[in-house]
């Protein structure tokens, strides 16, 4: 099956920052969490996917179509949420809807009204008077009322309180009950992902380090703890990054089975969280494919 989002060898240089030869495929019906530290290139990648930026080299395809010939068709099928308010600040939701709705052939006014009621949003107040959470709710309501097949969100949970974050994740889960739905969203709050993500794409310094299913990640990564004298040039090869302290070392590996066989009982091995993976990957060596 054709991927919904398909980036092939995409490179883009923006002043001192660049996306390097990125290959990213997102499958239909999956929730992909796009993680990476601030400045890693998450927003730039999303802009490339949305055709707000054009790649210097490489191809961007959505639903198997390219932007050069099918721009409207593609965007018709996407619902987008950005991390900042992109709507006219002084306008109220009623007027914003009147700008956004006619753009989509499949706009569903009843559905929109449903979300507005559910989120308890006022239609006649200027959007600049909304709290950050309300603005995000409004953006989401506007993004999911035209039966989009792909929902792209840039940091939708940033700056939101825990209650609304959970509500949002529930909402996304509800949306995912429809098997045609695909969601791609960036975040640096990795705990959001444990609940809903099927795939995790991890970007660092403009490079995609991996795009694995959450199951694969569970099996593939582990945090290893042991005493410093276990480390030498040979054994260090098993680790992506090693942090030494006086009491011993902590390290991340993507070859847990090998490590277990080599060190046997001399080490403690734990499941790596996404945060562990992000933390150790910084300044570590590249994630060599272990399969």
């Amino acid at each position: 099956m054709e991927p919904i989002i398909d980036l092939q060898n995409v490179s883009k240089k923006i002043s001192s920052f660049s996306i390097d030869e990125m290959n990213l495929q997102v499958e239909k019906g999956m929730v992909t969490g796009f993680i990476g530290e601030n400045g890693a290139g998450k927003s730039t990648t999303i802009k490339l996917i949305m055709n707000l930026l054009k790649p210097d080299t490489g191809d961007v395809k959505l639903f198997g179509l390219d932007y050069a010939t099918h721009e409207k068709e593609i965007k018709e099928r996407i619902g987008f949420v950005y991390d900042s308010n992109i709507f006219f600040e002084g306008m109220n939701l009623k007027d914003i809807k009147r700008v956004v709705a006619p753009a989509y052939r499949q706009w569903d006014d009843a559905l929109f009204k449903n979300y507005i009621d559910q989120f308890e949003l006022p239609m006649n107040k200027a959007i600049k008077s909304f709290s950050k959470g309300m603005q995000m709710k409004a953006s989401i309501a506007l993004a999911i009322s035209h039966h989009a097949e792909l929902i792209i969100m840039d940091e939708p949970t940033a700056g939101l309180d825990p209650i609304f974050r959970r509500e949002l994740l529930n909402l996304l889960q509800e949306l995912m009950l429809d098997s045609n739905q695909t969601i791609f969203f960036s975040t640096h709050i990795t705990t959001d992902l444990d609940r809903i993500a099927d795939y995790i794409a991890f970007i660092q310094n403009g490079k995609l380090l991996f795009n694995h299913s959450t199951e694969e990640i569970k099996d593939q990564y582990a945090v290893v703890k042991g005493s410093n004298d276990l480390l030498d040039r040979d054994t260090e090869q098993f680790f992506i990054n090693v942090k030494r302290t006086n009491s011993g070392f902590n390290a991340l590996t993507n070859q847990p089975k090998t490590v277990q066989n080599v060190f046997e009982d001399t080490i403690i091995m734990e499941r790596a969280t996404l945060e562990d993976i992000m933390y150790y990957s910084k300044g570590g060596k590249e994630h060599a494919k272990s399969y």
Partner: protein, 201 residues
């Protein structure tokens, strides 16, 4: 496309409450009608631009199912539409208040505002927000500095040209002014579209 043009009206709804008193003020202050026409016909397109200058607006428009070509086309066609509308409204009010005006006031006012837009729109898209006024200032100084230098050198040709123009009939002059304005406007459209297609948001 129609949606994009309609969008200007939705965004500027509140501005229209300022627009009409503003126009009445001009008329009641007995400002020369030609100036009134110029100002009212520039008002809506420039105001619409003030919104679109914001980066966020461009992100929104470009994320919706519109092509960049359509966004610029809406800007140029919409401007002509709103210029026509404002001018018709002004004419109606002038007639209602029994104020005298000449048809060539309308013509010159509209042509000047279309010419102004032809230069202003591409400038807005070339320069980043906040730099437009600087660019306009620099352009102004260059004009002030160079025109007096160039003028004496081309004065001969200019006199010949003026003689030539004087001999033409009024309708030919109007006709050519209108056609030249249209060509400049279309050319400006093409340039803005080319710039906009390459823009990153």
């Amino acid at each position: 496309m129609l949606n994009l043009i309609k969008r200007d009206a939705i965004i500027q709804k509140k501005q229209l409450y300022v627009f009409i008193p503003f126009m009445l003020f001009f008329i009641l202050m007995q400002v020369p009608p030609i100036l009134t026409f110029l100002v009212v016909s520039i008002y809506i397109p420039m105001n619409a631009y003030a919104y679109d200058e914001k980066a966020e607006t461009n992100i929104l428009l470009n994320s919706l199912p519109y092509t960049r070509k359509q966004i610029i086309a809406a800007r140029y066609i919409g401007s002509v539409f709103y210029i026509t509308l404002s001018v018709l409204l002004t004419i109606a009010i002038l007639l209602l208040l029994n104020q005298p005006f000449e048809w060539h006031d309308v013509g010159i006012g509209v042509m000047s505002s279309i010419l102004f837009s032809s230069f202003a729109f591409p400038m807005y898209y070339i320069f980043k927000r906040g730099y437009v006024s600087l660019a306009t200032m620099i352009a102004f100084f260059i004009l002030v500095a160079f025109v007096p230098m160039i003028l004496p050198k081309i004065s001969n040709q200019l006199t010949n040209f003026l003689h030539f123009v004087q001999e033409l009939s009024l309708s030919v002059i109007y006709g050519s002014v209108v056609s030249i304005t249209i060509v400049i406007y279309l050319f400006s459209w093409l340039i803005t579209m080319t710039i906009y297609e390459r823009k990153a948001f």
